[in-house]
Symmetry: C2
Subunit: 317 residues, 2 copies
DNA sequence: CCATCAAGCGATGATTTGCTCATTCGCTGA
DNA sequence: TCAGCGAATGAGCAAATCATCGCTTGATGG
């Protein structure tokens, strides 16, 4: 026996086992407690931990008719390639509802056999997506960041999305080591002139697939909440017609990029309009609707993963 | 609005939506009832239906250390290619515990880009596997049955495994339209001489991957339970050393096929020993251990998906 | 060596869920 | 038209689950 038992079970092992028995085996927590020789409370905690640690993945294997209808309506209206509509989750954060669908789409791309360069933006939706991705081996692809990873406070937390996903799927990753938005155009240009930055930017521009979130420019703008722009800058860009933002680059309600405000100092790579490769927007929520519409209109994105109510609102316009 | 609402929600749509809100959204049944404007009991029934219909798939995203250890031990001992060990589910049917792992392996194969011929056996374990596969598009592969699909009572229920999986993944399928076991060798040979049967058999023999269950020859033998062999035939073959069976073909404890009993009348294609392509056995349960060991020993199978206690028992021998 | 503190544990009460049963609804055939 | 019948519904209840609380235990630092 000791020949086989190479290692003591880690806490995660225990949690995984309890979660397995509970969710797959359909056992009650009492039964699990008896099986593993622990108290029910402990069993309960292990099951909860398994869920909290993301050890248990739940997916819906049925396309709800209403969502399929919305997908084809969106596809027709905006000439989309990929389009996915998830059922909404009542009042909960819409990010939660689109994360599994977004993860499934990313996994689909990662499983393609030919080596691809996959460009990723950042934001809550993308973060939700990578948290929902199942570990798999995609070492033949390259993951490249579209956006700088240095926040105004100097932290590199926005690095997270690409780092986490590359960790999960064992793919090499190329973060863009520049400020998301530099204090001055000159400083931005100085960063851009650096060899390594240039190479990552070229890689990002040549990406075979692009995944981005879409930011709104209303008072709850992610750029503002995360401290990338000041309220004055936000107001200035709104006065100039700003309706939304992709990878930090602000555009108007027709999806045309502006030449004012932070757009003169944004460090990352801009997702060009009418890209001939998939550029998939991952976004949901009432306040994002104008931004999503604008991005779709000028084909900054040519694919969309959203939720039911957002899809309905977009189509109602 | 009516422009969008093309179709009324089906009962499955409702179940899927309730299951989504419950499992993905983490809402209580009361909340779901309020959200959908139905009674709590109805919400409860929809959630249960979603689970029963297999609309909700749960997978464990963590390899438990003990199982990994067993996998490498099995790989070393029997020189296996693919090997997967799932945690056991207490007293429950071991088929339930291996079905997700088996499904994941089949999905991996189905997602390979080059067109493959995939041969499938039948049995409870295979049936569990196909029930757990997620729908995906694998139209470039061919699914071929190793085993006849006509049961002694004339029903074609054994057709189920390959039909269901081909339905789920939209792959063309080639059932073998012969009795599993014919009453006489002559009749078996007559079937074999038929052109269509010959072509399916040739296809099966040339398969790039093989998935089979492993049957025991003890009193709970699947062949006996399903009425393919009589007790007298079972006893006769046991007297001749029968230890197990793959795709209806009986072998002894060294994994050598016998020349007696029903083996002279079995209709399907025999999985040859030491195949140079993957031949993956999907089997778990204490009573199957001798059969699995025998099949591994002579390399009728060169891959194994089983559960923890079965793996331990195999290695203890 | 002892005081302090944090982490984990088991118990308890509140909430949520699964199940049974009587009833109703809708359909079919006389 | 209406009786018969099966499926679906909702009420009620027992079981299961979850959240909170005080306690133990073991580590840390004075």
């Amino acid at each position: 026996m000791s020949r086989i038992e190479h290692s003591d079970p880690t806490p995660q092992d225990d949690a995984a086992r309890a979660g397995w028995l509970y969710y797959v085996g359909g056992m009650t927590q009492d039964q699990i407690a008896a099986e593993l020789g622990i108290s029910r409370q402990r069993a309960q905690r292990l099951v909860a931990k398994a869920m909290a640690d993301g050890l248990i993945h739940v997916r819906l294997n049925h396309r709800i008719g209403a969502c399929l209808d919305l997908e084809s309506a969106l596809r027709d209206r905006f000439g989309l390639g990929r389009c996915r509509v998830s059922p909404s989750l009542g009042g909960a954060d819409p990010v939660l509802s689109i994360a599994p669908a977004a993860a499934a789409e990313l996994e689909r791309v990662l499983r393609l056999p030919e080596p691809l360069t996959i460009a990723l933006g950042t934001g809550r939706a993308l973060r939700g997506m990578v948290d929902a991705v199942a570990p798999l081996d995609a070492a033949h692809h390259r993951l490249v960041s579209l956006i700088g990873n240095i926040a105004p406070d100097g932290s590199a937390s926005f690095f997270d999305v690409i780092m986490r996903v590359s960790d999960k799927v064992r793919a090499p990753h190329y973060p863009m080591l520049v400020p998301v938005i530099s204090p001055t155009s000159a400083e931005r240009d100085a960063f851009r002139a650096l060899g390594p930055v240039k190479r990552v930017a070229d890689l990002a521009r040549s990406a075979d697939v692009v995944f981005v979130g879409v930011g709104q420019m209303s008072d709850d703008a992610p750029l503002l909440a995360d401290g990338f722009v000041t309220r004055a800058e936000l107001d200035q860009m709104r006065a100039a017609g700003a309706a939304g933002e992709v990878a930090g680059w602000v555009f108007d309600s027709d999806g045309q990029y502006l030449d004012v405000g932070t757009n003169t100092r944004t460090g990352g790579v801009r997702v060009e309009q009418k890209l001939d490769r998939p550029a998939i927007g991952i976004a949901a929520g009432a306040s994002k609707v104008p931004a999503i519409c604008a991005a779709l209109k000028s084909r900054i994105i040519n694919g969309l993963i959203t939720d039911e109510v957002t899809a309905r609102t977009i189509l109602a316009l």
